[in-house]
């Protein structure tokens, strides 16, 4: 454990050092690629000294979580319906597949027209983008249920409803969580893209501001903040997954 930490830290230090040396030795200007020290300075300034990031961070997290929650809830419900009702699978599934092929970020400008420059358009994009992996994973998860177990339940007299709750739904849980893990990261992308298109607050908005001012160190700092948010949310999903799907722990 200690060894692994030491190796990981060494790799990080080497990476930062290489970055710093590469920028120093080349004639690339600081405006194009900032040095790590400047990025760190921006992070400290944004989070501590002036603390101007926090407001934007909360806005983006709010949009991400709201979009993720709505997208997952609708995705779960639709996934169960399409997965379990033969008629719906036949009629709706082709449309779901077809819609899935549309790059969702391409509809961001449209959503800003429909839902305005406030939170609603960002939540709508985040929800739309996180919805598809959930639907598809829930359907595959329900299909993955072991036929023999269902047969066992049938032999003992279980109704379709009981077969669903006792065998199919638990079998679908690992797939659902794989979908949630993808969806949470996609939600962040959705929120940021929507902020690019039109917003007054949020990390995406701030990145656009810094872009206009050629404040690349600031942009790098915000990218670091974004990836920390992404990693934290990913680990929250994984932690919940480990709690719920306890029988898969070895």
């Amino acid at each position: 454990m200690v060894r692994r930490w030491a190796i990981n830290t060494a790799v990080f230090v080497l990476f930062v050092a290489a970055w710093d040396i590469a920028v120093r030795l080349s004639d690339v200007q600081g405006v194009v690629v900032p040095r790590p020290g400047e990025v760190l300075k921006s992070i400290i300034d944004g989070l501590v000294t002036r603390g101007i990031y926090w407001d934007h961070i909360w806005v983006t997290i709010l949009e991400t979580l709201a979009g993720f929650t709505i997208g997952s809830a609708v995705g779960l419900a639709l996934g169960v319906l399409v997965g379990e009702v033969a008629f719906l699978r036949q009629t709706l599934y082709p449309y779901i597949i077809a819609f899935q092929t549309i790059p969702k970020v391409a509809v961001a400008p449209l959503f800003v027209i429909w839902f305005g420059f406030g939170l609603a358009s960002k939540i709508a994009i985040a929800a739309t983008i996180s919805f598809f992996p959930i639907v598809v994973n829930v359907i595959s998860g329900l299909d993955s249920a072991d036929h023999n177990r269902i047969e066992m339940l049938k032999v003992f007299g279980a109704s379709k409803w009981q077969q669903f709750w006792l065998a199919k739904a638990p079998s679908a849980l690992p797939f659902l969580f794989a979908g949630l893990d993808i969806a949470i990261v996609l939600s962040i992308i959705g929120a940021i893209v929507a902020e690019f298109v039109g917003a007054q607050r949020g990390i995406g908005y701030l990145i656009m501001q810094y872009n206009f001012n050629l404040n690349t160190a600031g942009i790098f700092a915000l990218l670091v903040v974004l990836s920390v948010i992404g990693v934290v949310l990913h680990f929250v999903v994984v932690a919940v997954q480990h709690r719920i799907i306890f029988w898969q722990r070895s």
């Binding site: 023999n148 047969e151 032999v155 003992f156 007299g157 638990p170």
Partner: protein, 255 residues
């Protein structure tokens, strides 16, 4: 009562479009409380027979009755044990045993004590709150047997229940099964491809031939009960096993 099978024929459709006769004019009557083993080569239709009895198959010719009522749909008066335990990994052992109670809408609280007694009998007293993945294969199969008995069915249908276990565990499981059977007096139809297992357990051994599945002969096992592992080293046991084997070999398709 017990099990009455009369001129049962079952056909399967194949992907290629033809149909295969899996069971052909099968006649068997098992009175209440009798232990009957069914042996035969792979593909002789013995599992198909059990699927008919536990109500998983429709569309056969002839008739099959369990406890006086025709089969054709799942029923609550049989307990089934499959080759694999088919436990639900997300429920603990006690909850797994109570599955028949749960799905049949009976009050689980009333059966909890019975489920614990069964686990006790099966040597799983301390494992009631453990999850299936933490048990060995033999223990999982014992849980499956408890599950088949929890709703107190008159008939037990077992489809090669110990086929996946190692030889030593298998002997222990055979002894356990005889003990449980002796204590409960169920009617048992037990499918296996092991001749010694069939002779050791059963009152009668039904020998089937393959394609189509027919009864070749029925060997009556008059070994005294209770039987234990010394029974297997008696001359009578060897003679009976030899007779079953010779019936199988007469058709020349036992491997």
């Amino acid at each position: 009562m017990g099990i009455e099978i009369d001129q049962l024929s079952v056909r399967y459709g194949t992907i290629a479009g033809d149909s295969i006769l899996a069971v052909d004019r099968f006649d068997l009557s098992i009175p209440d409380g009798e232990f009957v083993a069914i042996v035969g080569p792979s593909g002789c239709g013995k599992s198909t027979l059990l699927r008919v009895l536990c109500g998983l198959m429709q569309g056969f010719d002839g008739s099959a009755r369990v406890n006086g009522t025709p089969t054709g749909s799942p029923r609550t008066d049989v307990g089934v044990v499959f080759q694999d335990s088919r436990l639900l990994p997300w429920l603990n052992v006690l909850e797994n045993v109570l599955i028949p109670i749960r799905v049949q809408g009976k009050p689980r609280a009333d059966y909890r004590a019975r489920a614990r007694d069964l686990l006790d009998t099966a040597g799983l007293k301390d494992f009631a709150l453990v999850y299936p993945n933490e048990l060995s294969g033999g223990m999982q199969q014992r849980v499956a047997i408890c599950r088949a008995l929890v709703h107190d069915p008159g008939t037990l249908l077992m489809d090669e229940p110990f086929g996946a276990l190692d030889a030593i565990t298998r002997e222990i499981m055979n002894l356990e099964l005889l003990r449980i059977w002796g204590a409960t007096g169920k009617t048992v139809a037990f499918v296996t491809h092991s001749i010694p297992e069939a002779v050791f357990l059963a009152d009668r051994v039904v020998v089937m031939t393959s394609r189509p599945g027919r009864i070749q002969d029925i060997v009556k096992v008059d070994l005294p009960r209770p039987r234990d592992l010394t029974t297997m080293s008696t001359l009578a046991f060897a003679e009976l096993s030899g007779r079953v084997r010779s019936v199988l070999n007469a058709k020349g398709d036992f491997h």
